[in-house]
Protein backbone atom coordinates (compact mmCIF):
# COMPACT_ATOMS: atom_id res chain seq x y z
CA UNK A 1 0.00 0.00 0.00
CA UNK A 2 2.89 2.35 0.66
CA UNK A 3 5.60 3.40 -1.75
CA UNK A 4 9.23 3.20 -0.89
CA UNK A 5 11.03 6.36 -1.98
CA UNK A 6 14.81 6.73 -2.05
CA UNK A 7 16.75 9.78 -3.09
CA UNK A 8 20.25 10.47 -4.35
CA UNK A 9 21.58 14.00 -4.71
CA UNK A 10 23.93 15.03 -7.50
CA UNK A 11 25.41 18.45 -8.23
CA UNK A 12 23.04 18.97 -11.09
CA UNK A 13 19.90 17.15 -9.98
CA UNK A 14 18.00 15.01 -7.48
CA UNK A 15 17.08 11.39 -8.29
CA UNK A 16 13.97 10.02 -6.59
CA UNK A 17 13.71 6.24 -6.98
CA UNK A 18 10.26 4.78 -6.53
CA UNK A 19 9.56 1.20 -5.39
CA UNK A 20 6.08 -0.34 -5.43
CA UNK A 21 2.69 0.34 -6.95
CA UNK A 22 1.75 3.94 -7.77
CA UNK A 23 -2.02 4.18 -7.59
CA UNK A 24 -4.71 6.46 -6.21
CA UNK A 25 -3.85 5.32 -2.69
CA UNK A 26 -0.10 5.72 -2.85
CA UNK A 27 0.43 8.62 -5.26
CA UNK A 28 -0.16 11.34 -2.63
CA UNK A 29 3.03 10.12 -1.00
CA UNK A 30 4.94 10.83 -4.22
CA UNK A 31 3.26 14.21 -4.64
CA UNK A 32 4.29 15.23 -1.11
CA UNK A 33 7.86 14.14 -1.76
CA UNK A 34 8.09 16.16 -4.99
CA UNK A 35 6.62 19.27 -3.41
CA UNK A 36 9.05 19.03 -0.51
CA UNK A 37 12.00 18.53 -2.86
CA UNK A 38 11.04 21.57 -4.98
CA UNK A 39 10.61 23.64 -1.82
CA UNK A 40 14.12 22.62 -0.79
CA UNK A 41 15.38 24.03 -4.08
CA UNK A 42 15.66 20.86 -6.15
CA UNK A 43 14.12 21.89 -9.45
CA UNK A 44 15.98 19.43 -11.68
CA UNK A 45 14.40 16.10 -10.81
CA UNK A 46 14.72 12.56 -12.04
CA UNK A 47 12.00 10.04 -11.17
CA UNK A 48 13.39 6.53 -11.40
CA UNK A 49 10.47 4.20 -12.22
CA UNK A 50 12.64 1.10 -12.70
CA UNK A 51 11.08 -0.66 -9.69
CA UNK A 52 7.51 0.49 -10.20
CA UNK A 53 5.29 -2.58 -10.65
CA UNK A 54 2.08 -0.75 -11.34
CA UNK A 55 1.12 2.74 -12.47
CA UNK A 56 -2.42 4.04 -12.86
CA UNK A 57 -3.97 7.29 -14.07
CA UNK A 58 -3.70 8.84 -10.62
CA UNK A 59 0.03 8.09 -10.72
CA UNK A 60 0.33 9.61 -14.19
CA UNK A 61 -1.47 12.69 -12.90
CA UNK A 62 0.96 13.02 -10.02
CA UNK A 63 3.91 12.80 -12.41
CA UNK A 64 2.30 15.45 -14.65
CA UNK A 65 1.89 17.65 -11.58
CA UNK A 66 5.54 17.13 -10.73
CA UNK A 67 6.60 18.26 -14.20
CA UNK A 68 4.41 21.36 -13.93
CA UNK A 69 5.92 22.22 -10.54
CA UNK A 70 9.56 22.00 -11.64
CA UNK A 71 8.87 23.77 -14.97
CA UNK A 72 7.31 26.68 -13.09
CA UNK A 73 10.66 27.02 -11.31
CA UNK A 74 12.59 26.77 -14.60
CA UNK A 75 13.59 23.21 -13.76
CA UNK A 76 12.88 19.94 -15.48
CA UNK A 77 11.81 16.37 -14.79
CA UNK A 78 13.32 13.33 -16.52
CA UNK A 79 11.98 9.79 -16.20
CA UNK A 80 14.01 6.60 -15.90
CA UNK A 81 11.74 3.90 -17.28
CA UNK A 82 13.32 0.76 -18.72
CA UNK A 83 10.12 -1.26 -18.26
CA UNK A 84 8.23 -1.24 -21.55
CA UNK A 85 5.01 -2.07 -19.76
CA UNK A 86 5.18 1.11 -17.69
CA UNK A 87 6.35 3.24 -20.61
CA UNK A 88 3.44 2.01 -22.70
CA UNK A 89 0.99 3.52 -20.20
CA UNK A 90 2.47 6.95 -20.91
CA UNK A 91 2.18 6.23 -24.62
CA UNK A 92 -1.47 5.23 -24.39
CA UNK A 93 -2.15 8.68 -22.96
CA UNK A 94 0.03 10.47 -25.48
CA UNK A 95 2.31 11.48 -22.63
CA UNK A 96 5.43 10.12 -24.29
CA UNK A 97 5.42 13.49 -26.07
CA UNK A 98 5.49 15.32 -22.75
CA UNK A 99 8.20 13.39 -20.91
CA UNK A 100 11.79 12.44 -21.67
CA UNK A 101 12.58 8.78 -20.94
CA UNK A 102 15.95 7.22 -20.10
CA UNK A 103 16.90 3.60 -19.62
CA UNK A 104 19.20 4.11 -16.62
CA UNK A 105 19.47 6.74 -13.97
CA UNK A 106 23.09 7.39 -15.02
CA UNK A 107 21.94 8.39 -18.49
CA UNK A 108 19.40 10.77 -17.03
CA UNK A 109 21.97 12.32 -14.67
CA UNK A 110 24.34 12.74 -17.63
CA UNK A 111 21.58 14.50 -19.54
CA UNK A 112 21.39 17.14 -16.82
CA UNK A 113 25.19 17.50 -16.79
CA UNK A 114 25.07 18.13 -20.52
CA UNK A 115 22.49 20.87 -20.08
CA UNK A 116 24.26 22.50 -17.16
CA UNK A 117 27.65 22.59 -18.92
CA UNK A 118 26.21 24.48 -21.89
Amino acid sequence: MTLELKEAEYNSCLVISIFGEIDMGSSPQLRTKVIRSVNEGHVNLILDLTSVDFLDSAGLGTIIGALRRVRSQNGDLLLVCPEERIQSIFMLCDLDKVFKFYLTSNEAVDAYKGINSL
Partner: protein
Amino acid sequence: MNGKDYSSGMVELRIPAQAEYIQLVRTVIGEIAAIDPNLSLGRIADLRLAVSEAVTNAYREHTRQNLDDQIVVRCDLTKGKIEIEINDQGAGFNPNEIPDLPNAEDPERLNHESGVGFSLIRELSDETTVETGKNGTKVRLIFNLNNG
Protein backbone atom coordinates in the same frame (compact mmCIF):
# COMPACT_ATOMS: atom_id res chain seq x y z
CA MET B 1 -4.71 -27.02 -19.92
CA ASN B 2 -5.11 -25.21 -23.23
CA GLY B 3 -8.63 -25.11 -24.56
CA LYS B 4 -10.11 -26.07 -21.20
CA ASP B 5 -13.58 -24.73 -20.67
CA TYR B 6 -13.94 -22.51 -17.64
CA SER B 7 -17.58 -21.90 -18.46
CA SER B 8 -18.68 -21.87 -14.84
CA GLY B 9 -15.72 -19.73 -13.86
CA MET B 10 -17.63 -16.80 -12.40
CA VAL B 11 -16.07 -15.07 -9.43
CA GLU B 12 -17.78 -12.26 -7.57
CA LEU B 13 -15.99 -9.92 -5.25
CA ARG B 14 -17.68 -7.29 -3.10
CA ILE B 15 -15.46 -4.75 -1.43
CA PRO B 16 -15.94 -1.75 0.81
CA ALA B 17 -15.48 1.54 -1.03
CA GLN B 18 -12.12 2.09 0.66
CA ALA B 19 -8.83 2.78 -1.07
CA GLU B 20 -7.13 -0.14 0.71
CA TYR B 21 -9.24 -2.64 -1.19
CA ILE B 22 -8.46 -1.51 -4.73
CA GLN B 23 -5.12 -3.29 -4.61
CA LEU B 24 -6.98 -6.41 -3.47
CA VAL B 25 -9.16 -6.28 -6.59
CA ARG B 26 -6.04 -6.05 -8.78
CA THR B 27 -4.55 -9.06 -7.05
CA VAL B 28 -7.72 -11.10 -7.45
CA ILE B 29 -8.09 -10.19 -11.11
CA GLY B 30 -4.45 -11.04 -11.73
CA GLU B 31 -4.83 -14.42 -10.01
CA ILE B 32 -8.02 -15.29 -11.87
CA ALA B 33 -6.47 -14.36 -15.18
CA ALA B 34 -3.47 -16.54 -14.36
CA ILE B 35 -5.78 -19.56 -13.97
CA ASP B 36 -6.30 -19.48 -17.71
CA PRO B 37 -3.03 -20.08 -19.50
CA ASN B 38 -4.12 -18.18 -22.61
CA LEU B 39 -3.42 -14.72 -21.27
CA SER B 40 0.09 -13.28 -21.57
CA LEU B 41 1.72 -11.45 -18.68
CA GLY B 42 1.42 -8.21 -20.64
CA ARG B 43 -2.27 -8.73 -21.21
CA ILE B 44 -2.78 -9.56 -17.53
CA ALA B 45 -1.10 -6.23 -16.70
CA ASP B 46 -3.52 -4.45 -19.09
CA LEU B 47 -6.45 -6.20 -17.44
CA ARG B 48 -5.29 -5.29 -13.96
CA LEU B 49 -4.89 -1.65 -14.95
CA ALA B 50 -8.25 -1.36 -16.71
CA VAL B 51 -10.11 -2.96 -13.80
CA SER B 52 -8.19 -0.86 -11.30
CA GLU B 53 -9.21 2.33 -13.13
CA ALA B 54 -12.87 1.32 -13.18
CA VAL B 55 -12.83 0.36 -9.50
CA THR B 56 -11.07 3.64 -8.66
CA ASN B 57 -13.83 5.55 -10.48
CA ALA B 58 -16.47 3.57 -8.57
CA TYR B 59 -14.65 4.26 -5.31
CA ARG B 60 -14.44 8.00 -6.09
CA GLU B 61 -18.13 8.11 -6.93
CA HIS B 62 -19.10 6.35 -3.69
CA THR B 63 -16.91 8.81 -1.82
CA ARG B 64 -18.46 11.81 -3.63
CA GLN B 65 -21.98 10.55 -2.90
CA ASN B 66 -21.07 9.55 0.65
CA LEU B 67 -22.23 5.96 0.07
CA ASP B 68 -21.39 3.12 2.44
CA ASP B 69 -22.37 0.48 -0.13
CA GLN B 70 -19.92 -2.04 -1.45
CA ILE B 71 -18.51 -2.08 -4.94
CA VAL B 72 -19.23 -5.31 -6.78
CA VAL B 73 -16.76 -6.80 -9.22
CA ARG B 74 -17.72 -9.87 -11.26
CA CYS B 75 -15.23 -11.76 -13.31
CA ASP B 76 -16.30 -14.41 -15.75
CA LEU B 77 -13.64 -16.60 -17.27
CA THR B 78 -15.43 -18.10 -20.23
CA LYS B 79 -14.02 -19.98 -23.13
CA GLY B 80 -12.28 -17.48 -25.34
CA LYS B 81 -12.63 -14.41 -23.17
CA ILE B 82 -12.54 -12.88 -19.75
CA GLU B 83 -15.42 -10.57 -18.91
CA ILE B 84 -15.33 -8.21 -15.96
CA GLU B 85 -18.13 -6.12 -14.58
CA ILE B 86 -17.59 -3.27 -12.13
CA ASN B 87 -20.77 -2.10 -10.41
CA ASP B 88 -21.28 0.91 -8.22
CA GLN B 89 -24.35 2.51 -6.65
CA GLY B 90 -23.40 6.07 -7.51
CA ALA B 91 -25.35 8.75 -9.35
CA GLY B 92 -24.12 7.81 -12.82
CA PHE B 93 -22.42 9.93 -15.47
CA ASN B 94 -22.33 10.42 -19.19
CA PRO B 95 -19.26 8.70 -20.58
CA ASN B 96 -19.62 10.69 -23.81
CA GLU B 97 -19.31 13.95 -21.96
CA ILE B 98 -15.92 13.35 -20.40
CA PRO B 99 -14.10 16.54 -21.46
CA ASP B 100 -11.25 16.23 -23.94
CA LEU B 101 -7.82 17.04 -22.61
CA PRO B 102 -5.53 19.62 -24.22
CA ASN B 103 -3.17 18.27 -26.84
CA ALA B 104 0.09 16.77 -25.57
CA GLU B 105 2.04 19.60 -27.26
CA ASP B 106 -0.05 22.29 -25.51
CA PRO B 107 1.58 23.57 -22.27
CA GLU B 108 -1.96 23.66 -20.87
CA ARG B 109 -1.83 19.86 -20.78
CA LEU B 110 0.23 20.03 -17.58
CA ASN B 111 -2.67 21.63 -15.73
CA HIS B 112 -4.70 18.41 -15.99
CA GLU B 113 -3.69 15.80 -13.49
CA SER B 114 -6.80 13.70 -14.02
CA GLY B 115 -9.18 12.66 -16.74
CA VAL B 116 -7.35 9.85 -18.56
CA GLY B 117 -8.78 6.91 -16.56
CA PHE B 118 -11.69 6.21 -18.81
CA SER B 119 -9.78 6.48 -22.05
CA LEU B 120 -7.17 4.09 -20.62
CA ILE B 121 -9.95 1.60 -19.89
CA ARG B 122 -11.17 1.85 -23.48
CA GLU B 123 -7.68 1.56 -24.93
CA LEU B 124 -6.71 -1.46 -22.85
CA SER B 125 -9.82 -3.62 -23.18
CA ASP B 126 -11.06 -5.31 -26.31
CA GLU B 127 -14.55 -4.07 -25.57
CA THR B 128 -15.98 -1.60 -23.04
CA THR B 129 -19.65 -1.05 -22.39
CA VAL B 130 -21.17 1.28 -19.81
CA GLU B 131 -24.66 1.13 -18.37
CA THR B 132 -25.16 4.13 -16.17
CA GLY B 133 -28.03 5.94 -14.52
CA LYS B 134 -29.29 7.44 -11.28
CA ASN B 135 -28.97 4.11 -9.49
CA GLY B 136 -25.42 3.39 -10.38
CA THR B 137 -22.96 2.45 -13.05
CA LYS B 138 -22.00 -0.90 -14.51
CA VAL B 139 -18.82 -0.94 -16.57
CA ARG B 140 -18.32 -4.15 -18.50
CA LEU B 141 -14.89 -4.99 -19.91
CA ILE B 142 -14.09 -7.81 -22.28
CA PHE B 143 -10.60 -9.15 -22.85
CA ASN B 144 -10.20 -11.75 -25.56
CA LEU B 145 -7.94 -14.58 -24.57
CA ASN B 146 -6.35 -15.56 -27.81
CA ASN B 147 -5.51 -12.48 -29.80
CA GLY B 148 -2.81 -11.51 -27.28
